[in-house]
């Protein structure tokens, strides 16, 4: 899970490794994911999101489909 200066540089990096690029995430979207995952991590109540909760968090920032589905197989 890495940072890139642009989507074009993601494509170049993937091409050099013979792998298909996946959807890119903007940093404002990533902040929403980071706060959802870790915002309560230092408290007794914290827990990892369930698969259904993960899908909801991803969908809230416009990320959906098999790549973002924690229960997808194949």
């Amino acid at each position: 899970m890495l940072f890139f200066r642009s989507e074009d540089l993601v494509k170049a990096w993937c091409e050099a490794r013979g792998v298909a690029p996946n959807p890119c995430v903007r940093l404002d979207q990533l902040w929403t994911l980071a706060t959802a995952w870790y915002g309560t991590r230092l408290t007794p109540e914290s827990k990892r999101p369930s698969p259904a909760e993960m899908r909801g968090i991803f969908a809230s920032v416009g990320l959906s489909g098999p790549f973002w589905d924690p229960e997808a197989r194949g």
């Binding site: 899970m1 540089l9 990096w13 995430v25 990533l30 980071a34 870790y38 230092l42 007794p44």
Partner: protein, 146 residues
């Protein structure tokens, strides 16, 4: 509160304090319990995907978003330098600490440095993007690669 939760909070408290992974012995001393009980709690927390351990089963490699080993993703918060496991976790450290910080990393293709100010309500605008090779369903299959 369960014993595993007490151990988890002690681990995360130690990471928050100085950015370094505590040893099982240090957690045992801090909680006044046996080393063996702490190691058993580590195993349970690994099963619950709260911790990722080295092959010895007792050394913390990751307590996401914190990394127990140096990485290219550094986060400075309040004078403490933390290492994150990945780009996502680099933003996760200010989120977990609920404090502003500075993320330092790089573009993986060009090598261009990334220095990102993260306020308590999020990062400053940046053209950088985040990319993962691994789909969500496979993250924990090989967490170091992910």
């Amino acid at each position: 509160m369960t014993f595993e939760t007490q151990v988890k909070l002690a681990i995360y408290g130690a990471f928050a304090e100085d950015g370094r992974a505590p040893s099982a012995q240090a957690i045992a001393v801090a909680l006044g319990v046996s080393y063996e009980d702490v190691v058993a709690a580590f195993a349970k927390l690994r099963t619950d995907r709260v911790l990722f351990l080295e092959p010895d089963g007792r050394t913390i490699r990751m307590a996401p978003p914190f990394s127990g080993v140096p990485t290219q993703h550094r986060v400075r918060v309040g004078g403490v330098e933390y290492f994150a496991n990945c780009g996502w976790d680099a933003l996760g450290i200010p989120a977990a600490l609920r404090r502003a910080g500075i993320v330092s990393s790089r573009c993986e293709q060009s090598g261009e440095p990334l220095t990102l100010a993260v306020a308590q309500d999020g990062p400053e605008p940046s053209p950088f993007v985040f990319h993962s090779l691994v789909r969500a369903s496979s993250w924990w299959d090989d967490l170091v690669f992910t």
